[in-house]
Symmetry: none
Subunit: 243 residues, 2 copies
DNA sequence: ATACGGCATTGGTCATACCAAATAACACGA
DNA sequence: TCGTGTTATTTGGTATGACCAATGCCGTAT
């Protein structure tokens, strides 16, 4: 540990204690005053260390209550916003459609061939492999726009998907079901790009995400239904218990 | 900004100053003692805010020297790519137009009032002040979309502008000349949003950036005059084809 | 012109005090 | 007995003020 600054070394020490299980995930660690005494440093230093770890997503500081070890599942990515699957899909619908429209006017043979290969690959594979091909398909379209910023933004959108555990789960469950349909939609997009038809490419991409959103809404309704059902069962049990 | 903890709100304020270009990338910001006085808080609070931003990769603290704004290229996830002013403007044209269209359907009175205030402010002020109002106008529209991801993307686009010296220069020189026109364009956008007319909002925003791109291309042509003129025309065709 | 050394600046740490939020403890009334 | 509202304690949040250590500037001496 060659951390010169004390607050740094304290931060790494606390990190070690967490990793070693001394401070279990979700548990509350000693108060700042206690820790200061144990580590033999001032309370200010302890605070700075804890604040660092909070910014890194390892700790959660609750005013008046204490500081807790962040559960791994809740880990948040620095700078990436907490987004729902709906929000992300809506944003992708808007932005990727425009990216596709832009790409249609300038896309070259090389990119088109690669997209064709990816569409085939998606049809023949499944699971993670198909997912990777899907991702590459969209990124290839974005790259074909020949606009660095556009490509960067689309990449960022994908990053948001992967960094958000909740969003990823929803997407995964959706993709499983509609594999065939997804293939058709990608083929449609590819066709429009081949014809250098911007309007058609935009429409095809919008349809692609539009259908995904509808599917998600259905699931949402299903979940709502299940929750209501569960709640009614609970109510019923409570009622029976009191009788 | 409803960060209840002071150190948090200070951190976000500093972040804003960085994003707005007041603390340029790579520059050194005032000493902790000065900042404490400026913000009207204690030095400890300033330290905690700076430590947070350091952990997030936005600042670099050097003992005995000062604290510096982290260059974007050193940022965590793949740095902002070298983008030209053309690319950025084109991306903004595509994406901000869609954001405006989305916002039109759900924008509320509060946001509309704020936008009106900003349009007036832009008309009455100039230079940095007008620039800040311009930025806030676009970010307010994005926020009005009520989609976290959309807002985040628009913010990212603005960040790219500030972190790319070349792009910033081009924009500044353009904005100087077309102050009046810019006001009209913003007013048009605001009108469309008031009527909750998505299509009109999209069109108004596209015109806004479309005119900006043409202005930039004109300057580009002037500058490169003879030989580069041909290339300029090609670029122009390529960028405007999709519009 | 260069190398050395002192000095001002700036971050790093400590100690103490007080405030506000969250929580635990307790006394009270239905 | 069971809430329930009040009080006391714990815990984080902020403010001061002091001193240390690294850095960088600048004037001096070689």
């Amino acid at each position: 540990m060659k951390d010169e600054r004390l607050n740094r070394s304290v931060a790494t020490k606390i990190t070690q204690l967490i990793d070693e299980g001394i401070f279990p995930s979700g548990s509350r660690l000693p108060g700042e005053r206690d820790l200061a005494e144990q580590f033999g440093v001032s309370r200010a230093t302890i605070r700075e260390a804890e604040i660092t770890l909070q910014a890194l997503g390892r700790l959660k500081i609750k005013t008046g209550s204490g500081v807790y070890v962040m559960k791994a599942s809740d880990a948040k990515y620095g700078g990436i916003p907490a987004a729902s699957a709906f929000e992300l899909t809506q944003a992708r619908l808007l932005f990727e459609s425009e990216a596709a429209a832009l790409a249609a006017s300038v896309i070259g043979k090389e990119a088109l061939d690669h997209l064709e290969y990816l569409v085939e690959k998606m049809a023949l594979s499944s699971g993670d492999e198909a997912d990777a091909a899907d991702r590459e398909f969209h990124l290839t379209v974005a790259a074909a726009s020949e606009n660095t910023v556009v490509r960067y933004i689309i990449e960022t959108l994908w990053k948001i998907r992967n960094e958000s555990g909740a969003v990823k789960d929803v997407y995964d469950s959706e993709c499983e079901k509609y594999t065939a349909q997804r293939g058709d939609e990608h083929a449609e997009i590819l066709d429009a790009l081949r014809k250098h038809d911007s309007a058609a490419a935009r429409t095809a991409m919008r349809n692609h995400f539009g259908r995904l959103m509808e599917a998600m809404l259905e699931v949402s309704e299903e979940q709502t239904y299940n929750e209501m059902r569960k709640k009614s069962v609970e109510t019923r049990e409570r009622f029976l218990k009191s009788v």
